[in-house]
């Protein structure tokens, strides 16, 4: 055993987040009590964040294989084949708790972290999307905290993405009470790489050198994975104290790191590459060793530091940003260092690959930690969830902001102005969506973002999840979220290639949260299987609960990447030509249950959603996708929050054209016809013949015509009409939040 003056106790282990049983297991694996450094490393690697100890068994049920999959879960990012020897790497990750404590840096480093995952496998990052959740911000019950978090997070995402030259091409945001104390900041990134040049993270080759390059290591972010990411948030006072656990981002350093990493790979100088994220060097080195089934010797005295006097354990657990670890053959070490110098990036040879199967940490000559790699990475106990369907509602009904007897026209304007539906322009205008010159469809031009590839094909990407509907029915709500992403892709003419997901849930040790998680993952698996859009990677964020606001809505954020053969034919959501016919397509069965209108009325969540026919919806998506590809549709938009009436208004606003339609007899009741929600519906426009041709695969109902300067909807027993100006006024309500 290495020397250590005073060994930590079981109480210390508890303070670091280990249970008494886990501490006993650590002692068993170590053949005696661990010293402080060893205990710190175990506590991080055995945290929920690193070990997925409450979710791993569920995740094993997900479909991960498919004809397009090149790299599946387990690597830094997943990757799918996009033709011509190229792959698209992508992944979504959360940075929820850091952002709830410090939104600007929390969100910024969330973007930095997901970008490193992409270039760690040898792909150049080409796009970022984000998925955000906050408490209520509407004037009816404004939360100054949520407005502060929203502003900080948007600035942070922009700061990092804009500065590093990766476009932010899409995203989504919802405002709901259960996110008041525990906001969600999920960031997704896409990269493009050559299939033959992808690099894995498994360390290999006894005697090879470990080179750490990038920023110096400091005391920032110590304990982030265990303290922040694996426990519920407390009250505001104690969360203040957690601020030093949030890392500070430096996008310029990362830009150099990115270019340097890609050039190292291009010149074939490195054997394996891994980024340093949560749990810093501890997790990177241990996971590289575990995947390669080798051992690693590290010397903390060789690591470039930001400040003197850092203890070995601090160096090992620091979460300083913008660092990478690579394995290099000894003959190439000098060339690696020279290239780092070109990019003005620090580098240091800090260790070697061994065949001992042990992770040994030295401080100069002194051995200060010695652990079996397998025990650190693979022997963390996995827990079975104890799901229990709740017998009483988990969530309080939302505060009513709209009278129950509001007439249709006023309800339409209220919905368009509600924070969950209003134009996101004030947010996405703070992001650079066009750098790198690939962006064919930006936000509010189409349902999915579209990037052009060199062969003129296109990549499409969408990210989505309506947490309120998942809360009403975790299984069906999750199926809907997957279908929604695929519908967005269909609207631009793209078919799904693969899926990533970020499972944001509350404390899984509670029966009702375990039930939400189990049902949600079941829905995720079934929907991805049915759509042939396998899961290539993802992230789990648990313990998202506020001290008084309770658990968040279960929020399985879905990111889906698809391909379209010809980017020039990418679909648009806005109406294009006066005189075009408008049709409703798909097996759309609208209902006001768990809808946006029900929320504005302050209605409690229903217990369950309508059952859905995934196959019928998939056929409708295929019909729309093929028609868009063939150029038969002028516009295509899927029906989501606010129902058909809001979807029609969005098509009018995006195209600057009015429309006259009849909406009656689709569902029971006028309000359900207008504002009822459910999966499987599209609003499309084009020549009437082309629209009717969709009927071979899906139900089609021609409902009206594009034209004029107002949206007029006949309702059977009445009608409503609003001018484009009135619709615009309502839709731009978020503008005032960003003066």
């Amino acid at each position: 055993m290495p020397d250590s003056a005073v060994l930590p106790t079981a109480e210390d282990a508890l303070a670091l987040g280990l249970t008494p049983e886990e501490y006993d297991l650590v002692c068993e694996k170590q053949e005696g009590p661990p010293n402080l450094l060893e205990l710190a490393m175990y506590s991080l690697l055995w945290s929920e964040h690193c070990a997925y100890k409450h979710s791993k068994k569920l995740l094993r049920t997900l479909p991960t294989e498919g004809s397009h999959v090149v790299m599946g879960p387990g690597e830094n990012a997943g990757a799918v084949d996009v033709g011509n020897g190229l792959v698209c790497a992508f992944k979504v990750e959360s940075h929820n708790h850091p952002s709830a404590v410090e939104p600007f840096q929390g969100a910024a480093t969330g973007v930095g972290g997901i970008l490193r995952d992409i270039f760690a496998i040898g792909a150049r990052p080409i796009a970022v999307l984000d998925s955000l959740r906050f408490g209520e911000i509407s004037d009816a019950h404004p939360s100054s905290r949520s407005r502060y978090l929203l502003d900080g997070a948007v600035r942070g995402i922009g700061h990092y993405g804009n500065s590093i030259g990766v476009p932010t091409i899409g995203g989504e945001v919802y405002f709901e009470g259960p996110y008041e104390q525990n906001c969600l900041i999920n960031a997704m990134a896409l990269g493009l790489g050559e299939r033959e040049r992808l690099v894995r993270s498994a360390a290999a080759g006894s005697g090879n050198t470990l080179v750490l390059f990038g920023a110096r290591t400091g005391r920032d972010g110590i304990g982030g994975a265990s303290v922040l990411a694996s426990a519920e948030l407390g009250d505001a006072d104690t969360d203040e104290d957690k601020r030093p656990t949030v890392q500070v981002g430096d996008p310029f350093e990362e830009k150099k790191l990115l270019e340097c990493s890609l050039e190292l790979l291009e010149r074939g100088l490195i054997v394996a590459l891994q980024d340093l994220g949560a749990a810093g060097l501890t997790s990177s080195a241990a996971e590289m060793a575990s995947k390669g089934e080798v051992g690693i010797d590290l010397d903390v005295a060789k690591i470039p530091l930001r400040e003197p006097g850092m203890q070995p354990f601090e160096v090992m657990v620091s979460e300083s940003q913008e660092r990478m670890l690579c394995v290099v053959e000894p003959a190439n070490v000098e060339a690696v260092k020279a290239l780092c110098e070109k990019w003005e990036v620090n580098s240091a040879a800090i260790g070697t690959v061994t065949m001992t199967g042990r992770m040994r940490v030295f401080d100069g000559e002194e051995l200060v930690g010695d652990m079996p790699v397998r025990a650190l990475v693979d022997d963390c106990p996995l827990y079975d969830l104890k799901p229990e369907k709740p017998t009483a509602p988990i969530y309080a009904p939302p505060v009513a902001t709209l009278a129950a007897d509001t007439p249709p026209r006023e309800a339409l304007l209220a919905l368009l102005g509600s924070p969950n539906i209003a134009s996101r322009r004030p947010l996405f205008e703070q992001y650079d969506a066009i750098v790198q010159s690939r962006t064919v469809r930006r936000p509010e031009q189409a349902d999915a973002a579209v990037l052009a590839l060199e062969d003129e094909s296109g990549l499409a990407v969408s990210i989505d999840c309506n947490g309120r509907r998942v809360a009403a029915d975790p299984y069906t709500g999750t199926v809907e979220a997957v279908l929604e992403c695929a519908a967005n892709l269909a609207c631009v003419g793209a078919e799904p290639l693969g899926t990533t997901n970020n499972l944001n849930f509350g404390n899984p040790e509670k029966g009702h949260i375990a039930w939400q998680l189990t049902e949600s993952v079941r829905g995720l698996g079934e929907a991805c299987r049915a759509l042939e859009a396998p899961i290539v990677g993802g992230n789990v964020s648990l313990y998202n609960e506020g001290a008084t606001s309770g658990p968040i809505y279960p929020t399985p954020v879905i990111g889906m990447v698809g391909r379209l053969p010809d980017a020039r034919k990418a679909g648009r959501l806005g109406f294009v030509r006066a005189g075009d016919a408008i049709a409703l397509v798909g097996p759309f069965v609208p209902s006001l249950a768990a809808s946006e209108l029900a929320k504005l009325h302050g209605e409690a969540l229903p217990d369950g959603l309508e059952e859905i026919d995934i196959e019928a919806i998939r056929n409708a998506q295929i019909a729309v996708r093929e028609a868009v590809r063939a150029g038969g549709l002028a516009s295509a938009h899927d029906i989501a929050e606010g129902g058909a009436a809001v979807a029609l208004a969005e098509c009018c606003l995006a195209g600057g054209l009015g429309a006259s339609v009849e909406l009656a007899g689709i569902a029971a009741g006028m309000m359900a016809n207008l504002f009822g929600e459910g999966p499987g519906g599209f609003v499309v426009s084009g020549g009437e013949e082309e629209l009717r041709a969709l009927g071979e695969l899906a139900p089609v109902r021609v409902i009206g015509t594009v034209g004029g300067a107002a949206l007029s909807i006949a309702l059977g027993e009445g009608s409503l009409s609003a001018t484009l100006e009135e619709l615009t006024d309502a839709h731009t309500s978020l503008r005032e939040l960003f003066p």
Partner: protein, 225 residues
């Protein structure tokens, strides 16, 4: 005709500028730490965050070895285009008058803007018509152009105010709605909007930015519109 596009470690729109330039001529990247222009006939200082710009946009970049060469090149009459961060760098290097301050809304803002061509006789806009409108995207945090009143009057007289935001388009609060200016001699030009992002109908829906690069080619090759 060959363009040289400077690449700083924090350049973001360098490859976009390179590819835009390649639509009208040859183009090559020039590494910030080197001094050789590699035979370029005109220089583009691209957008991005040259050295991180944590101090003041362009304040460090002006001292780059390659910039020293470019300053000599410009003083000898060579043609230099600065886009966004490049505009900031050229102001810091005193190749252009005035300075760029934080946007009036104090936020990074990305928007397609309409520009008016006030001088179509110069080296960078000769492919445009007078008063022509160009649709080009702008995206920046520090784009509020400022110069003192005397300087502005002199610039106005000398035709140095080349591009102006059309009414209602000046989101950053630039004085006199100025979007792009040249030096007195007319061989150095800077603008905040990004012409390299308006060269392809498929991406962005406008090709108006190409006219800036085309103008430079005409100037260098002695073609008169």
């Amino acid at each position: 005709m060959k363009f040289g596009v400077i690449q700083f470690p924090g350049s973001c729109d360098d490859l976009d500028a390179l590819n835009a330039a390649k639509r009208v001529g040859d183009a090559e990247l020039l590494w910030h730490g080197e001094r050789d222009l590699k035979g370029a006939d005109a220089i583009v200082v691209p957008g991005g965050f040259s050295y991180g710009d944590y101090l003041r946009a362009g304040a460090i970049a002006r001292f780059a070895p390659m910039m020293e060469t470019v300053i000599d090149f410009a003083n000898d009459g060579g043609h230099v285009l600065g886009i966004c961060n490049g505009f900031q760098v050229l102001c810091e290097a005193h190749l252009l008058p005035g300075a760029l301050l934080g946007n009036a809304n104090r936020r990074f803002t990305s928007r397609q803007v309409e520009l008016e061509v006030l001088n179509s006789g110069g080296s960078f806009t000769r492919a445009c018509a007078l008063d022509e409108r160009l649709s080009i995207p702008a995206k920046h945090s520090w784009g509020r152009y400022y110069a003192d009143p005397q300087t502005l009057a002199a610039m106005d007289n000398a035709g140095q105010i080349v591009l102006r935001y059309a009414p209602g388009e000046n989101f950053n609060g630039s004085v006199h709605d100025i979007a792009g200016v040249s030096n007195e001699r007319g061989n150095v030009f800077g603008l905040m909007p990004h012409p390299e992002h308006a060269v392809d109908e498929l991406i962005g829906g406008s090709t108006d930015g190409l006219k800036i690069f085309e103008s430079m080619r005409m100037t260098v090759e002695g073609v008169h519109a």
